[in-house]
């Protein structure tokens, strides 16, 4: 006996097997990301201050549109198969994969930026207050850190020795959209010049400092965990799509309906990955 309903729908459920399977899998994925989102809520409720304006909003918004576009082309790819137009399918699936690459490329740029961006936490509030005027004169700002009673300044390290650290604080305008766009364009064209004045801090006044990696704060911990897990899903989806783009295509000539169903399944997964990002973007970038 062959396994029934691999291609044709079972009459009473109206579904073929893999469609049931992928919806169940997605239900489980909802719970996976649900666990992480509830961790986000827990961390945020438990923190003294939650960082704002740390991520580049225009670039995140652009990435959101890239993913939405890829979801649209994914539907077109599937629809082309339904109309038995393999040539169009190849084009649309190709664009979808390309969008995946663009998304990951931009995400890597964002990660890179964060890994080369520093935060510096003062020993205590009194020390922070001592530097406040100097930092503000340099165009920067001393903000509350995520931990109660701690203050931080963010920016770039210019020079450092045993006793002092020359630090260029982020401009208070650095979280404005236009400034962020200009900064990205400068990076792409390679014309980025160090801006702003440096402030000299005594090493003794610094409680700790480090780049924006997961261990810097709970905010970056959840940011990197969520987006990296999402990126793994993007990569997974792209691998499957790449399979259907070239080697898996054989099935189309043998059983086009079966092939179309398989593409529909990967499409559903891709829409889910897109949907997760639709939640991630406001939660991490905007709120």
């Amino acid at each position: 006996m062959e396994i029934p309903y691999t291609v044709k729908a079972r009459p009473d459920t109206g579904l073929w097997n893999a469609k049931v399977g992928i919806w169940l899998f997605l239900a489980s994925e909802v719970m996976l990301f649900g666990g992480l989102f509830s961790a986000y809520i827990f961390l945020r409720l438990g923190s003294w201050h939650w960082p704002h304006g740390v991520l580049n909003i225009p670039i995140g918004l652009f990435n959101t549109f890239v993913l939405i576009t890829s979801s649209v082309t994914m539907v077109f790819a599937w629809a082309s198969l339904k109309m038995r137009n393999l040539h169009k399918f190849e084009w649309f699936l190709g664009i979808t994969i390309l969008c995946g690459f663009i998304f990951l490329g931009i995400k890597s740029y964002e990660y890179y930026e964060k890994f080369h961006h520093y935060g510096l936490i003062f020993k205590n509030e009194a020390v922070a207050n001592r530097y406040r005027a100097e930092v503000e004169a340099a165009g920067g700002q001393i903000k509350p850190s995520i931990i109660e009673g701690q203050y931080e300044v963010t920016g770039h390290i210019e020079e450092m020795d045993e006793e002092t650290m020359k630090f260029i604080p982020d401009s208070i305008h650095s979280s404005e959209p236009m400034v962020q766009i200009v900064s990205v364009l400068q990076t792409i064209t390679g014309k980025k010049t160090e801006h702003g004045e440096a402030v000299v801090f005594q090493q003794d006044d610094i409680y700790r400092w480090g780049p924006f990696v997961p261990r810097y704060s709970s905010y970056f911990a959840i940011y990197f965990t969520l987006t990296a897990l999402h990126a793994l899903h993007v990569i997974g989806g792209m691998v499957v799509m790449a399979y259907f783009w070239i080697p898996g295509r054989k099935l189309y000539h043998a059983d086009p309906e079966h092939f179309t169903n398989r593409v529909e399944v990967v499409g559903l997964f891709w829409h889910f990955v897109d949907l997760v990002w639709i939640f991630l973007f406001p939660v991490l970038y905007l709120l």
């Binding site: 579904l15 097997n17 438990g46 995520i146 261990r215 704060s217 905010y219």
Partner: protein, 611 residues
């Protein structure tokens, strides 16, 4: 001439066969996509892990009964389990160190739950029996099924390998509570240490159960035979369906938690470390900002409680099948069984925080979880009552599977009833982390669920191998195990109510309050070791009967469900012709029929249609 031709053809046949077998051994027995082989793979692997987990406990019981005395006999061989370096580190002079005791405790729990009981009940029996019972040719996704087993196997191997990494296996309990677990073992090696390996193993096991549960649900929804309507499905299939949903939805949050704990351990984050945590004078989370140990507990128990039902329900389903078959009576109240099991599945998602009364999460939250916990006992009692009433007036066959199934009822009853006091936060606060809790859940899991699993092994063995297991040795196995189980676990209630803590590695010898109850430790340990001996006939019986057991017909128990209506053992594809279902699952002793069982695929006679 003829004989020459014959021998020649025989010869060439043998060569072809030999060649064929050699080619296909891997594909047939290791990378098989046949649900029956996968079921057997799961079954044997899980039984071995059950034995291994039990051995760990038998070693721990030496330490509890005779604290500080060197381990006899086995002491010299412990390097086999731990590696020479770890044995020297963790067993100085042959005495179990507190670290080793903790490690065995954590691994006993992990192995029994995630590698023993669940894979045996859900994956092994589910794989073998469910597609047969719904009349399907295989699982819906055979290759995913294979991936599920291999992921499980690797998860298990990672857990075993973790005994050999520097410092030995995980030591933070099967619950791996942070912050303890977030910082444990990293002193031995930043990555190759017990707790990190535990997390990696768990990720593999969670992947395996995800693949399995998707497959089970899709199979049950899509591949039911013609006429197999929802209310004609055997109760075992219902139990598996609900179990699969629990695994599907409850495990991923633990995976999320596992990823975060891995980040805490490897990437230096502090998801579960509160600000200002200081351990042994070392400042651990200057970084945190909102890190919360309670978050781990919530995510863990969001899996942990449904997991209890993942452990229980498959065994409950098996017991139901076996009771009906051997009482020669329909199950009493089949619809209420079905609705109850669905209700349990739903409720099990909203009771998790009754494990956390002591955490200070607040009285309002406690009150909510207390209420839901008490409510969940209602469907459980409905199920147990239905099973008990099903025996009333039956003509019961007391064979080995039936004995184990009957043993399940009172043992699970004790386990369930002793859980009710724990549901109330006031009593829970007193009994929390005492031996009472250990006694309670072991009565559910060990004499309860494990009895159900043994019943299943004895019951379906003839279908899988075509031979019976030996009845006499089966009964010896049952009676000694029954007595010893109670010998191990009943004193735990007494000790727990007197306030003995579950994690004292000397069994309470250092504490004044436990003095009057200390003598039970030896009694319990001896019971455990005798029970260990009682498993030897089972193990021999299990392997010997495969060759020498009494031959079984296709339907040796004269049962009604579809798995007995196939050839024995079922061929690839299961059914010779597509089965059609005409009846409910338990039509035993139907009035007017010639025999006392009416298989589901037997058309209903005209004159009986209105009955």
């Amino acid at each position: 001439m003829a004989s020459v031709a014959l021998s020649e053809s025989e010869h060439s046949h043998a060569v072809v066969d030999h060649h064929h077998e050699e080619l296909s051994f891997l594909r047939k027995y290791v990378f098989s996509t046949d649900h029956k082989i996968i079921g057997v793979q799961y079954g044997i692997t899980a039984l071995l892990f059950l034995l291994f987990g039990f051995v760990l406990m038998m070693l721990m019981r030496w330490q509890l009964a005779y604290p500080g005395k060197p381990l006899p006999w086995f002491g010299d061989w412990m390097w086999l389990l731990l590696g020479k370096k770890n044995a020297a580190l963790l067993m100085p002079d042959g005495v179990m160190s507190p670290d080793l005791y903790n490690s065995f405790g954590a691994m006993h729990g992990t192995i029994m739950v995630f590698l023993g009981v669940v894979p045996l009940g859900f994956a092994a029996f589910g794989n073998y029996v469910v597609p047969l019972q719904v009349g399907a040719p295989d699982m819906a996704f055979p290759r995913i099924n294979m991936a599920s087993y291999h992921s499980f196997l690797w998860g298990g191997l990672v857990m075993l390998i973790s005994f050999f990494v520097p410092g030995g296996a995980a030591k933070s309990g099967w619950t791996s509570y942070s912050p303890l677990a977030s910082i444990a073992d990293t002193a031995y090696h930043p990555f190759w240490n017990g707790q990190t390996m535990w997390l990696l193993g768990m990720v593999l096991l969670i992947t395996s159960s995800l693949l399995g549960s998707v497959n089970f649900i899709a199979t049950i929804i899509q591949l039911r035979a013609k006429g197999m309507s929802w209310m004609r499905m055997p109760f075992f299939v219902w139990a598996q369906l609900v179990t699969a949903f629990l695994l599907l939805l409850a495990f991923p949050p633990l995976e999320a938690a596992g990823v975060m704990q891995l980040m805490d351990r490897v990437a230096g984050t502090s998801f579960f470390l509160p600000s200002g945590l200081v351990v042994n004078g070392q400042h651990f989370s200057a970084l945190s900002g909102g890190g919360s140990p309670l978050l781990w507990q919530h995510l863990f128990w969001f899996l942990g409680h449904p997991e209890v039902y993942v452990i229980l329900l498959p065994a409950l389903g098996m017991v139901c099948e076996i009771l009906a078959t051997n009482a020669r009576k329909p199950i009493w109240g089949y619809p209420s069984l079905v609705f109850s099991v669905v209700a349990i599945g739903f409720l099990s998602f909203i009771v998790w925080a009754h494990h956390m009364y002591m955490t200070g999460m607040g009285t309002k939250v406690s009150a909510f979880f207390q209420t839901t916990t008490v409510i969940i006992s209602v469907p459980s009692v409905v199920i147990l009552s239905c099973l008990l009433i099903s025996l009333w007036g039956g003509s019961i066959r007391f064979n080995t599977p039936m004995l184990f199934a009957l043993g399940f009822l009172p043992m699970f009853g004790i386990g369930g009833l002793t859980g009710i006091p724990l549901a109330f936060s006031a009593l829970g606060s007193y009994l929390h982390d005492s031996y009472y809790v250990i006694g309670h859940f072991h009565y559910v899991v060990a004499p309860g669920v494990v009895f159900g699993l043994f019943a299943g092994v004895y019951h379906w063995y003839p279908k899988i191998t075509g031979r019976f297991m030996n009845e006499f040795w089966g009964k010896v196995h049952f009676w000694i195990t029954l007595v010893c189980m109670n010998g191990i676990f009943f004193p735990m209630f007494l000790q727990g109510m007197a306030g003995m803590h579950r994690r004292w590695y000397d069994g309470g010898a250092a504490y004044e309050l436990s003095k009057p109850l200390l003598h039970w430790n030896e009694f319990m340990s001896v019971s455990a070791w005798i029970m260990g001996l009682a498993q030897i006939p089972f193990i021999i019986n299990f392997f010997i009967s495969f060759r020498t057991g009494k031959k079984a017909s296709d339907n040796p128990w004269e049962a009604t469900t579809l798995e007995w209506q196939t050839p024995t053992p079922p061929p690839h594809g299961n059914f010779a012709t597509e089965p059609v279902v005409y009846r409910g699952p338990y039509e035993y002793s139907v009035p007017g029929e010639a025999k006392d069982f009416s298989p589901q695929n037997e058309p209903v006679k005209e004159y009986n249609k209105n009955l």
